[in-house]
């Protein structure tokens, strides 16, 4: 038997008789009537004798009533269980910060525990203490192990949540009290909803009161003497549009004296881009700083808001707050130049104009030098064709340039052509669409434009025809079947059927063939190029950092207009051109190397489990191709001094799926970049990457200020005591144990005891004797 348990016997009087209230009332009434008759009968007796006889009669009637109710005694052998005294010790990371006495907050808590050591180890007869860690969750803590330093690795502090979990685990009636040792720095519901110095709101108060046990709180720090600067939070959108202003707003905490001002920096990818000066005010701790940037490139950018660490700070790592910004395109800027109005140009322009993602700049040549001019200029709506603005000054601002049946010759644009080729090589995109003024017919052979097109052009001569005006239906190639431009239906056979059933187009420009590194998506069913292969009708090509597309027909509008004549859907036309625009601007969804990250923010100790997908030029999964996977790391600290460090790399050969899985540990905080590239092909199209952050559970070490106010309110509302940071040897007040266990139970009938009957008879006998003696029988 457990020697800590106390055993005792308890008794309780019971009445077994189950006379109803009516019967009892009747008996009492009869008894009263009898007493009244007795009093009447005994009148004339001297008063003492009257009283004595009345008393005897009353006692006898009372005894009879008791006998009727069948009294009994229930005896119980009871063991008293000591109640619980959970002692919660905050083991979150903020407890490692120094307290005002010099030691850490955790050491202060350990000192308090040490002052109670004997109680904590053995309890007393009525109370049994149990020790728990508490941070983001709650776990048992072995007191015998805490002669070493208390752990301080919790990433968060959720005090109320821990107390509520305790209340669910234990019967609050069996809790003598909860003792909580903490700095009060709560980042759960308690801290988030209660401003510093403010009372708990009604809901939180209700929740604390509902716990059902007193909470004694020991504050390990009051915050006196704390010096620290922290970037508490940065408010930002998850994404921004390229070339559009993005705004960030940072809350900076300044605790302690740091002079009159502090610089706050905005860092992008390790480079300071902006600085704001914070003017410090006495008595104020939290400041808001605003930044505005205009991202110029699409992709992920790593930003940090940071304050240079100052001497004497409690912690330097909270001086910077990192975040990731995804920069996306808002609208695709397309320059559409048409050599003359035509149905093909009209349908393409309308499609582009109706696309909400496209910002279209169109210039169509409505009149040539051969046109008859009979009216003054002011009666025309025509404007000058601004070649210099478009092809020199503003060219770089366009994402895609479309030449539709457009020749450069009449506009003296020859000197702009090298610049257009450079624009493409530098990352731009060009589409050339056929017509009588396009390709060789447009004078582009033997120009820098020819070098970037995906098709070879014949030098025009009067002997060679550059155009075939026989209607035909272009054939979809195998590459076209898979390429995102011409894959208008994800289901393969349906895609082929759509292309087979499109209306014929009225002729084509003639080209010699496709470039070696071009991908042919549509080909002529009857004509061959110079090399004997089918003549390309639609071809695409990577040109260094840019892309080009050639479409040698000028009747693609019939894929829209003509299909409706047969009740078919015109979506093939819209799909082809919308897909083309996406491919030309390198929509990340269409990259040849795609890195799929499960998340953009991880924690140290987690694993990176990602995949990298590789595609061939025709967008089939790259199979049997040598590839390289790499993981780079850059530490999180102000002034990124060092270039990224390669933490891991692996050369592989892709299988038929083209997917390579990556599973590596993430040990340290920092900026990570997972890269994949083909080893057998150079060029930006053959590599891909994506970045992510690994951050400490940073909430705990953002705001280091302790919250003794929260602890005090917990005590007050629950009927507990609050003290600290000086330890005390006195155990706080604990409720006595309530819990009992009934070991044995016995019922003893009193009404059937002979003594009871004897007593009744004695009463009756005494009355009878006295009546007789006094002559009242």
């Amino acid at each position: 038997m457990d020697p800590t348990l106390r055993t005792s016997t308890e008794g309780e009087l019971l009445f077994i008789g189950n006379w109803g209230p009516t019967a009892l009332t009747l008996f009492i009434a009869v008894s009263l009537a009898l007493l009244a008759l007795t009093a009447l009968d005994l009148r004339g007796l001297p008063r003492p004798r009257l009283l004595l006889l009345m008393t005897l009669r009353t006692l006898a009637l009372g005894a009879a009533l008791l006998l009727l109710m069948e009294p009994a005694l229930e005896l119980r052998s009871v063991r008293t269980l000591p109640n619980q005294v959970p002692v919660l010790v905050d083991t979150s990371a903020s407890m490692r910060i120094a307290s005002e006495g010099g030691g850490s907050r955790a050491e202060v808590a350990a000192a308090q525990l040490d002052a109670w050591r004997s109680f904590l180890l053995a309890g007393d007869g009525d109370h049994r203490p149990t020790l728990y860690h508490v941070d983001e969750d709650m776990r048992r803590l072995d007191l015998r192990s805490i002669h070493d330093a208390l752990p301080t690795d919790g990433e968060r502090t959720h005090l109320l949540e821990a107390l509520e979990a305790l209340a669910e685990e234990l019967d609050p009636r069996d809790v003598g009290a909860v003792i909580l040792l903490s700095d009060g720095g709560d980042n759960g519901v308690l801290g988030q909803r209660t401003p510093r110095g403010a009372p708990l709101d009604a809901d939180l108060r209700r929740r604390v009161e509902a716990l059902g046990f007193p909470i004694h709180t020991f504050a390990t720090s009051s915050g006196t003497g704390l010096r620290d600067i922290a970037v508490l939070r940065v408010r930002h959108e998850d994404f921004a549009f390229v070339r559009n202003a993005a705004r960030f707003s940072a809350d900076v905490l300044v605790v302690g004296d740091f002079g009159a001002s502090l610089p706050v920096h905005l860092v992008r990818d390790g480079v300071r881009v902006q600085t704001r000066t914070l003017t410090l005010e006495p008595g104020r701790q939290v400041y808001t700083v605003d930044f505005e940037v205009t991202p110029e490139t699409i992709g992920r950018e790593i930003y940090a808001v940071e304050v240079t660490p100052q001497a004497g700070e409690a912690l330097e790592s909270n001086n910077a707050h990192f975040f990731l910004l995804r920069v996306i395109r808002d609208k695709v800027r397309v320059l559409h130049v048409a050599g003359r109005p035509s149905w093909d140009q009209r349908y393409l322009r309308q499609l582009l104009k109706n696309n909400p993602n496209v910002d279209l700049i169109a210039f169509h040549i409505l009149r040539t030098d051969n046109s008859v001019q009979r009216v003054p200029q002011h009666e025309l709506s025509l404007i000058q064709f601004p070649t210099e603005d478009l092809f020199q000054n503003e060219l770089a601002s366009f994402d895609v340039v479309i030449f539709q049946n457009f020749t450069h010759v009449p506009y003296h644009m020859r000197h702009f052509l090298p610049g257009i080729a450079r624009y493409v090589r530098g990352g731009g995109a060009l589409v050339m669409i056929g017509g009588d003024q396009s390709f060789s017919s447009g004078g582009y052979a033997l120009t820098p434009m020819h070098d970037i097109l995906p098709v070879e052009l014949a030098a025009p001569t009067t002997q060679r025809s550059l155009i075939d005006d026989t209607p035909f239906r272009p054939l979809l190639t195998d590459a076209g079947q898979r390429h995102p431009i011409t894959r208008v239906d994800p289901e393969g056979e349906r895609n082929r059927t759509i292309w087979r059933e499109l209306p014929p187009v009225p002729g084509t420009n003639l080209v010699l063939g496709a470039r070696d590194d071009a991908t042919v998506l549509l080909e002529h069913p009857d004509r061959q190029g110079a090399g004997g292969a089918a003549m390309p009708v639609m071809a695409v090509r990577e040109v260094e950092r840019g892309r080009t597309m050639a479409l040698t027909i000028d009747g693609s509008f019939r894929w829209s207009f003509g299909t409706l004549a047969h009740g078919a859907s015109p979506r093939a036309y819209a799909s082809v051109w919308n897909n083309a625009i996406r491919w030309l601007i390198r929509d990340p969804e269409l990259n040849l190397v795609r890195v799929d990250l499960p998340t953009t923010v991880s924690r140290p100790g987690e694993r990176l489990q990602a995949q990298v997908r590789f595609f061939d030029n025709d967008y089939s999964p790259a199979s049997e191709r040598p590839v390289l996977l790499e993981l780079y790391h850059r530490p999180l600290e102000p002034y990124w001094r060092d270039p990224p460090e390669r933490l891991w790399q692996e050369e592989r050969v892709t299988d038929a799926t083209g997917r390579e899985r990556v599973d590596v540990p993430l040990v340290q905080p920092g900026v990570y970049e997972l890269r994949g590239r083909f080893l057998d092909t150079e060029g930006p199209a053959y590599a891909g990457s994506d970045a992510f952050l690994v951050l400490e559970g940073s909430l705990e070490l953002r705001d280091l200020r302790p919250r003794p106010d929260l602890l005090e309110q917990l005590s007050l509302l629950s009927g507990g005591q609050h003290w600290g940071p000086a330890p005390t040897a006195r155990i706080p007040t604990l409720r006595p144990p309530r819990a009992v266990e009934v070991d044995r139970r016995q019922v003893v009938d009193l009404w059937s005891h002979p003594g009871v009957l004897l007593f009744f008879l004695l009463l009756l006998g005494a009355e009878w004797t006295l009546r007789r003696r006094w002559g009242r029988l």
Partner: protein, 257 residues
């Protein structure tokens, strides 16, 4: 700037190539891509009141603009295989006509919904005559729920090539055209002013009909209207693009009369 020999030779060859560009007369992709305005034949003796008009306006369009035209006077029936040759269609008439067959209406509806553009010109010589009445009746079946409304003078049709005030034709019965608009464009236009009457010339090139009340100046305006119609068919609201607006506003200060 000094050129290398290769650059010089390339420049010479390219210049030669530019000079050797095919002549305009050699139609690029055949007449199938050239601009044409088919005339709809329907059951009425008055379906073609101005037989020479379309050919004449096409010639004017080619002379005045960069548009390549097909000089053939094409006539089509209201059947899908006919209507879907090219996205523009013209209807003329000078008298009322019997209701069209449902298949014809359906074919016209499909044509318009596919982006087709229909211009209807009355040669009746009076507003709200029987031809106009018949047209409104048919259009209410072809495009139920849609109706003709006057086109605003600010509409891009009046600035697609020429800056025009009003809707001139052989007559000036109305100073506007009526239009049915959907998908953000004027898909059907109706003129009561007999534009084709102003365009029509005999085989000697002489105008077939007098223009009233404005005479030859009004005829010129009617021809410009024809050019603008073709430009609108091919460019829609191109001239409403932001880049053109300052120029147009400046030029509007000198109103064309």
């Amino acid at each position: 700037m000094t050129w290398t020999r290769r650059q010089f030779l390339s420049g010479v060859l390219a210049s030669g190539a530019a000079l050797a560009l095919p002549e305009r007369a050699a139609r690029a992709f055949g007449s199938q891509t050239d601009f044409d305005i088919p005339l709809l034949r329907y059951e009425s003796s008055g379906w073609n009141p101005r037989p020479t008009a379309i050919r004449r306006i096409l010639l004017e369009i080619e002379q005045r603009t960069s548009i390549l035209i097909s000089p053939d006077n094409s006539v089509v029936e209201a059947r899908a295989e006919d209507l879907f040759r090219t996205p523009m269609l013209m209807i003329g008439g000078d008298r009322g006509f019997a209701p069209w067959r449902p298949e014809a209406r359906e074919a016209l509806r499909l044509f318009l919904q596919a982006g087709g553009f229909l211009v209807i010109d009355s040669a009746e010589g009076r507003a709200e005559g029987e031809f106009e009445e018949s047209i409104r009746r048919e259009m209410s079946h072809v495009l139920p729920g849609q109706s003709f409304t006057p086109l605003s003078p600010e509409h891009v049709l009046f600035k697609t090539f020429y800056l025009i005030d009003g809707a001139p034709g052989r007559l000036a019965l109305r100073n506007h055209v009526d239009a049915i608009t959907f998908d953000g464009r004027a898909a059907v236009l109706f003129s009561a002013n007999d534009m084709m009457g102003a365009w029509a010339r005999d085989r000697f090139g002489n105008p077939e009909f007098s223009v009233f009340p404005g005479g030859e100046r009004q005829r010129e305006m009617a021809l410009r209207m024809g050019v603008n119609l073709a430009m609108y068919a091919l460019t829609l609201d191109y001239k409403d693009d932001q880049v053109h607006i300052p120029f147009i506003l400046r030029r509007r200060r000198w109103r064309t009369r």
